[in-house]
């Protein structure tokens, strides 16, 4: 077995050399007309929900919800998230009920066969700003704004070799929120000399699939009023909305990590017991 592991290590080293050569070839590209996106890698933010004991910061999620409600929801739907789940953000049942009642949803048909609108209930889902994808696209220069329910898991910049190997040890799973944060704070940079930016789009070196995107910078300093004294800056806003979207995409993250800790403790102890049993059983057999 030791030989097998040694062999594997040697095999790994050999392939690493080959990878290095190939990677170097990939790096060489033109600054004005890049072919690989994003142009710049997102910075790693220190999230409260990272790591084996990660947990959501409820104050932060509440601030993020406020940003979603006041800014993002004008264009971006979040149709998989129900109002009832907002209780996980630290709101009471009554608060959730009041929050839901601020929205109107379509229901029906009633006894007369007519569709009607009513105030939303906690059991309803966030209503979408556009009736359908076609309407969303038509109102936004042909590109429908993506739904936000899963966006924090549906976007991640590729980590590349060998970083993705180290990510196993560091438990890096925050590529989504890091990307959203980088994108929101990445507007306003000057494009490199000679780069053509298509009309109606905005240069952002952190955008995952092109040099510019249709969305205008959505957040500015002081745009959303916080009532908990947090700084009302673009940087703070971007972190808060990213954290909120992570929650929206992975609401059971805390439960998962807590369960995981118990499972790991049990398995490690159990492994120890089985190992001791194995030692005893094999003690008088040369093998």
């Amino acid at each position: 077995m030791k030989k097998i592991l040694l062999g594997l290590a040697a095999a790994g080293l050999g392939t690493m050399l080959a990878f290095g050569t190939a990677n170097a070839a990939e790096e060489a590209h033109n600054a004005a007309e890049p072919t690989h996106f994003p142009i710049k890698e997102p910075a790693e933010v220190n999230w409260s929900f990272a790591g084996p004991f990660g947990h959501y910061d409820k104050q932060q999620l509440q601030r993020g919800l406020k940003i979603y409600k006041e800014v993002c929801s004008a264009c971006h739907s979040m149709h998989l998230v129900a109002f009832r789940s907002l209780e996980e953000l630290g709101y009471t049942e009554a608060q959730v009920k009041a929050f839901a009642a601020e929205y109107e949803v379509q229901d029906g048909p009633n006894a007369e066969g007519e569709m009607f609108t009513r105030k939303a209930l906690p059991s309803d889902y966030f209503p979408s700003p556009f009736p359908n994808a076609q309407a969303a696209a038509a109102a936004n220069n042909g590109a429908a704004p993506p739904d936000f329910s899963l966006i924090a898991k549906a976007r991640a910049v590729e980590r590349g070799f060998p970083r993705f190997v180290f990510d196993i040890a560091t438990q890096y799973q925050e590529g989504g929120p890091d990307y959203i944060h980088a994108l929101l704070t990445g507007f306003g940079e000057t494009p490199p000399e000679g780069m053509q930016i298509p009309e109606g789009t905005h240069y952002n070196p952190y955008f995952i699939s092109a040099k510019s995107l249709a969305m205008a910078p959505p957040l500015q300093d002081g745009q959303v009023t916080y009532d908990d004294g947090s700084p009302q800056t673009l940087s703070q806003y971007s972190q808060d909305i990213s954290a909120f979207l992570m929650w929206a995409a992975e609401p059971h993250l805390e439960e998962r990590k807590k369960t995981g800790f118990r499972v790991m403790v049990f398995l490690v102890l159990f492994a120890g017991l089985v190992y001791v049993a194995k030692r005893r059983i094999w003690a008088d057999v040369e093998h």
Binding site: M1, G14, A154, P251, R256, F270, V274, V285, H287
Partner: protein, 432 residues
């Protein structure tokens, strides 16, 4: 199943009553308690048991997931999200199932590499090996169809690309593809038949596993020395010796499994699969799951026509051939010595083969352009060269090291020369 003499003696009245009518307890006793296994098995031999447990785990989580899943293009994506958000412990079931597939393949690849290293496929175990290759094929089909079910972008486009392979075959290609899809493109009929088959195939795997274990118990297990069992001192009873050792290996494997499920559940998935399938938007790079990447790299390595075979058909034949060639491995290896432990040259080429497989996996995740294609072509050449050239040739020209006379002799020689505490450097290839 062992075919040998049964040492089961029913002691109580009820055991005797059952044994006279349906000797199932006798079968279990002879196969999993008294069954003799070589005393020198190392932890690489624990993966058979680990795979059996993974199959059971996948079936159990899968059956429960199927209770909440809706196989309809309009409902599938949201039904999976319903499982993730609203079903009690649904997130755990789904992460166990999706990461379980990856762990299943990790274990099966170690299991196969172990077989190649210790020459486990040689006579009289050819059928045992062939049944294993059939299980691998069934696993691949099951995993591919399972990946389509969440109906994300990679599900849809992966299905489009992979079913498209069949169109490379002249005449029969298009009808086969239409049969697989249930139409002319990936759509609701495709999703429905994939769900049906994804539910069926694991039970077929279980059936072949029974044959695989049966064949194993007839020929007996190999061992790191590759020498057949000659006397009773070469073996120990399956229970408690192998059971407890396998159990320890299994728990270590479960720790790795749990680490991914609870801390890195999306590490092995693709972010695009959290976007609902859209037939009008092609993802920038369509990449299969990691366990298919080496085969994907070989498919794309064929960028040139070979006589009447165009590059597309050539790629598809290469990919299918890379699995098909495993079927004839028992007859490609001409060496009289089974284990790589006593074959210095084979050992070197074996580890190169492992490194090459890992490199092909990485290349499969890269776009097919420039240097990557060149590397893939070298990798593909070595993959086939290992089986077609190196295996038959090495057996004829290699001088193996001296073999011990028996398993017992090998074990005792090792403990004597190494001394206590368990010599670190002494013959580590036979150490657990």
């Amino acid at each position: 199943m062992s075919g040998g003499h049964s040492s089961y003696t029913p002691s109580t009245g009820i055991e005797k009553w059952i044994d006279a009518r349906l000797p199932l307890p006798r079968l279990v006793y002879d196969s999993f308690v008294a069954y003799p296994v070589p005393r020198n098995l190392n932890y690489a031999y624990a993966f058979g048991g680990i795979l059996a447990i993974m199959l059971v785990s996948q079936i159990l989580t899968g059956v429960v997931l199927a209770m909440h899943y809706a196989a309809d293009t309009g409902l599938a994506f949201n039904s999976v999200e319903k499982i993730m958000r609203d079903v009690n412990s649904g997130w755990m079931l789904r992460y166990l199932h999706s990461n379980g597939a990856s762990m299943f393949f990790l274990a099966v690849y170690v299991h196969i590499f172990r077989g190649l290293y210790y020459g486990s496929y040689k006579a009289p175990r050819e059928l045992l090996w062939i049944l294993g290759v059939i299980i691998l094929l069934l696993m691949m089909a099951t995993a591919f169809m399972g990946y389509v079910l969440p109906w994300g972008q990679m599900s849809f486009w992966g299905a489009t690309v992979i079913t498209g392979f069949f169109t490379a075959f002249p005449i029969i290609g298009d009808p086969i593809q239409q049969l697989l899809l249930g139409g002319f493109a990936v759509d609701n009929p495709t999703l429905n038949r994939f769900f049906s088959l994804h539910y069926l195939l694991p039970f077929m795997i279980a059936g072949v596993v029974v044959l695989h274990v049966w064949a194993l118990h007839v020929a007996g297990q190999t061992n790191p020395t590759g020498i057949e069992v000659k006397s009773k001192t070469d073996t120990v009873a399956f229970t408690p010796y192998a059971t407890v050792k396998d159990a320890f290996g299994l728990v270590l494997f479960l720790i790795l499994f749990a680490y991914f499920v609870f801390y890195l559940p999306n590490f092995m998935g693709h972010p695009d699969n959290y976007i609902q399938a859209d037939s009008l938007k092609t993802p920038a790079h369509i990449v299969p799951e990691w366990y298919f990447l080496p085969f994907y790299a070989m498919l794309r390595a064929i960028t040139f026509n070979i006589g009447p075979i165009n590059s597309k058909l050539g790629g598809v034949l290469t990919m299918f051939g890379s699995i098909a060639i495993l079927f004839i491995v028992p007859w490609l290896d001409t060496s009289k010595v089974r284990s790589a432990v006593y074959r210095p040259w084979y050992k070197l080429f074996f580890w190169l083969f492992v490194a090459n497989a890992i490199m092909l996996g990485w290349l499969g995740s890269r776009p097919a352009e420039g240097l990557y294609t060149l590397f893939s072509q070298f990798g593909t050449a070595y993959y086939f060269g290992f089986f077609i050239v190196i295996m038959p040739l090495l057996g004829l020209i290699e001088t193996p090291r001296r073999l011990p006379n028996s398993i017992t002799e090998a074990v005792l020689a090792k403990t004597k020369s190494g001394g206590q505490p368990a010599g670190v450097a002494a013959a580590p290839e036979t150490r657990a």
